[in-house]
Amino acid sequence: MKSKLKVIKSVAGALLLGSAVNASAADQTILNTSYDIARELFATYNPVFQKHWEEKTGQTVEIKQSHAGSSKQARSILQGLPADVVTFNQVTDVQILADRGKLVAEDWKSKLPNNSSPYYSTTAFLVRKGNPKNIHDWGDLVKDDVALVFPNPKTSGNGRYTYLAAYGYAQDQFGKNATEQQNSFLKTFLGNVSVFDTGGRGATTTFVERGIGDVLITFESEVNNIRQQYGADDYEVVVPKTSILAEFPVAVVERNAKKNGTLDVSTEYLSYLYSEESQRLLASFNYRVHNDTVKAEVADRFPEVKLLTVEEIAGGWPNAMRDIFANGKQLDQLQRR
């Protein structure tokens, strides 16, 4: 049966223009399933790792990439997408693979340093040239005439970080127990949103291409990318004094990797992200990294921020999902009209 399918596959492959090539010439093939905007990052990292793996083992490895919203990717893996490793921007999306499908080890977080998050970022602001609305911190975002653009917390991890960051600021500002003041701040904050796109890049397009809104709130790494893409002069980056620690968790999808016989190369693929070479590469994509040497090199590009963790703000992701983002909970209540 399997051989038959292979024949079909190769016939199909032959039919696909120019794709007959991908019939694996490599010793091993792994599929890296990742969030939507990490294509370039991993397209750059893959050759680095391929070289490293060949030097280390003498084997060639081919790395296939799949990119889409990270929740959607997790869903696909649960339903059978044969991913060997995941590189997500959402802790919950990895966790669900462990909880629901036993696809990822229960203790995946401790398998690699820094909560299995080889790089991280925070939430920052992008404002238009000259910062006409004078935006410097979260408090400035609730002014009457400020229009915000950030992705929908209901559909996007990026949006959830943004919301939690604002929540964290409110806790910081008004005190942990000043629920009323926090809520009124958050309500105004949400009320100032012009467009809720489903994903981060959609929000960027809305802000940049369509000219909607005064402030785009997204990952710091993205904010810098946008400046590089669309012209450094037209926009300014504002990094607030307090913000959130946004982790980018990685894990081996052990069930698939075992089945595919790629456990070793998959594990190494992720571990090598912690190497100095890789960390430098990650930093060049505007992510914050852990390696001290690299950190020192790029210190000027990453201003000091008081980084609150999800633990501190909401008692961890499971609680945040349950008490804030779940249907009818805090977010829904604050958005009600």
Partner: protein, 282 residues
């Protein structure tokens, strides 16, 4: 008697009415259909021809084009075959449940494409009971090309039958009954009597099926897995490019789809022209 000129007194033939209506239609069509089409090409060529060709020459893009055509190549014959049989059964025979069958056939029109994809995922994905079996036997349907073909077949399956049914109903069964009386076998009957009568509608159904198969996004996006260079169809690829700050490349690919659409439409117009000419000659 040339029938074209016979009825001079039809409603709305007064020049004032006629040209007002044509005018309104052309303006609305231009605004609502033509300008969006042009803007796709405008954005595709905004950085010049060289960039355009470059972005189309990208191996991932080429692969996406190939996969898209491959999917259409499989989908169209499947739907053609079953569409004809379905139209034959509901127009040539009376049986209980005939009406229900015709309504069921419209399901893909009523189902949001995303939901359509979800339906397949729930059934054939690892959580479904069939999915379990497939996993055990190492058969990858979802997140591979068979899954993409399956949902595309689902989304496009009404087109052929929907084109054929009204026509075959209108034409009635007399011709075929005559052929049976003259001793034609089933296949001869179909090939020599039915097919010549329905060939244009059939072709139109095929064209629509093809157009939709090539352009399907929602359903495919759910079951594709988005693996670059493997399960990424052109519409998915466009979105990825767009999300990747490669708007020009995205619109270059989009313009390709628009071009396929246009070629399809021109082909269709050509077929209709041929048909009209054939009718005039007879």
């Amino acid at each position: 008697m040339a029938s074209g000129q016979r009825h001079q007194q039809r409603v709305g033939d007064r020049p004032a009415v006629k040209y007002t209506l044509i005018g309104i239609t052309l303006v609305l069509t231009a605004l609502l259909l033509v300008v969006p089409l042009i803007s796709i090409f405008e954005q595709a060529f905004v950085d010049g021809l060289a960039v355009y060709w470059d972005s189309l020459g990208d191996p991932d893009t080429l692969h996406a084009i190939g996969l898209t055509l491959f999917v259409a190549l499989l989908t169209v014959p499947i739907n053609l075959f079953f569409g004809v049989l379905l139209a034959w059964s509901v127009t040539r025979f009376e049986f209980p449940g005939r009406k229900l069958m015709m309504t069921l056939m419209d399901i893909p029109f009523a189902v949001s494409p995303v939901v359509a994809g979800l339906l397949y995922l729930l059934l054939y994905g690892n959580n479904g009971w069939i999915g379990e079996w497939l996993y055990e036997h190492d058969l990858q349907l979802m997140f591979a090309w068979p899954g993409i073909v399956m949902v595309t077949v689902f989304v496009t399956c009404p087109f052929v039958a929907r084109e054929l049914i009204p026509l075959m109903q209108q034409q009635g069964r007399e011709d075929e009954e005559a052929a049976v009386i003259l001793g034609a076998s089933g296949w001869q009957l179909f090939r020599r009597v039915t097919l010549p009568n329905i060939k244009w509608a059939l072709l139109y159904g095929v064209i629509l099926t093809n157009a939709r198969a090539v352009g399907e996004f929602g359903a495919v996006s759910v079951v594709s897995g988005n693996i670059r260079g493997e399960t990424n169809t052109l519409p998915l690829h466009i979105q990825l490019l767009y999300e990747d700050y490669q708007a020009t490349a995205a619109f270059a690919s989009a313009s390709l789809l628009a071009l396929i659409a246009l070629i399809t439409l021109i082909f269709k117009a050509f077929i209709e022209w041929r048909q009209e000419r054939a009718e005039q000659l007879h």
